[in-house]
Amino acid sequence: MSGQDKSEYRRNSEMIPENEILREIGSMGAGHAATALSELIQQKISITFPEIFVAYPEEVPKKLGLHDMPVVVIYKNLQGSYDCDILLVFGREEADKIVSAMIKNTFNMEELDEEMKKSAIEEVGNIVIGSFLSAISNFTNMELLPTPPIHTTDVFDAILDVFLAKLRLQNRKAMVFQTCFKKNGEEIYGAVIIFLNEKLRDELISRGKSWLEG
C-alpha cells in the first residue's frame, strides 16, 4: 500500500491491521533496496513482495517451500531494548542467481571464488536488510544500529533453531516478506524474515497507525 491509499484505510477500519503496516514498511524498504542495488550494479533491479505473512517461526520453512533445504542466510541484529533479528534467505540455486545478477557485468561466474561470492551475497543482504531497517527507522523516528551482516549456508530448519530458541523466550512470531528481485526479466526469489520484539512491534504499530491516520 502506498501513502495515497491511506484514506482507504481510514474509511475501512478503525483497527489498522498489523499486516498493512508491515506491507507499508516492506514497500518503503523495497524501494530503498531497489535503488541502492540498481546504483551498485548500474542496472535496473526491481523488488516486489508476492506474499507477506505472519507465522510461527517453525512454520516458515514449509510455507516458503524450503523445509530441510540448503539455504544461504544473511543475518543482522539490532541490539538493546529494540532487539530485532532480520534474515534474508535464498534457496541455494536462487543465491547463485542473485550473485550472478550482481556481478555478471564485472566477472564470469567461473572466475569467482567462494570468498567473492560470499562478499557479493553479503552486500545484497546488507543493502536489503539495511533498507528494511531504514524503513522501520523512518516509521518510528528511531535510530537503529544493526550489527554487520553475517552469512551462513546450511539447512534452513537448523538455522532457524537458534532464533526459535531465542524467540521462545518472548513468544514472537516471524514476519515474512517473500521477495522477488527482477532484473532484465529474470526473477530471483528470496525472503526477508523479521523477528521484532514486542517493544519494537508495539512502537511500529502505534507510529504506523498515527502515520496512516495522519
Binding site: E58, D68, P70, Y75, N77, T147, I150, T152, T153, D154, V155, D157, A158, I159, L160, D161, V162, L164, A165, K166, R168, L169
Partner: protein
Amino acid sequence: MNEENEKKVRIGMAEMIVARNPTIISTTVGSCIALCMYDSMNRIGGMVHIVLPKKEDFDKGNIDSVQRYADTAVPALLSALISKGAKKEYIKAKIAGGANMFPILNHPILKIGVNNANVVKKKLADLGIPLVAEDTGGNRGRIIEFEVGSGTMKINTMDGKERKI
C-alpha cells in the same frame, strides 16, 4: 526390518514420540538436541527434540512443555519409554545436535547448543542412563533419522556427509 510395515514419523521442536519397531523417527536440529533412547531387547525407542537447557531458567511461569528443556525432557522421555514397556536396565541413549550455527557472533543465546548438550549429559548421568554415542557441537545443522529397533541414528549434514552412530 520389514520395509513395508516401516513407519516414518517426524517431530518438530519440543515434540516427543515413543514408538515400537519398525519405526523411523526424524527431525532436524541446529543448536537443538535430538535425544534418542531405546531398549533394543524390547525393540522400543523414542526421541525428544530439546530446545533450551534448563526449564527454571527460561520458563519462569512454569507453563511451558517439559519437552522443550533438557533437564525436564530427559526424565520425560525415560518415563514415556518405561510406561510403554521398556525396561530401564536395557535403556541406552544417543544424542546429536548442539551446534553453534553462528560461531562468529558473541550473543549468549547463540551458544545455547553447547549448554543444551551439557545439561542432557548431566541429566542422563544422574538418571543412570548410559550415553553410548553422540555427535554434537560444530557449526552445521543435522538432519536425523533414528531407527527405534536398532537404536541407529543416521545423521546427514549439508556438506553431503552421512554418518551413523
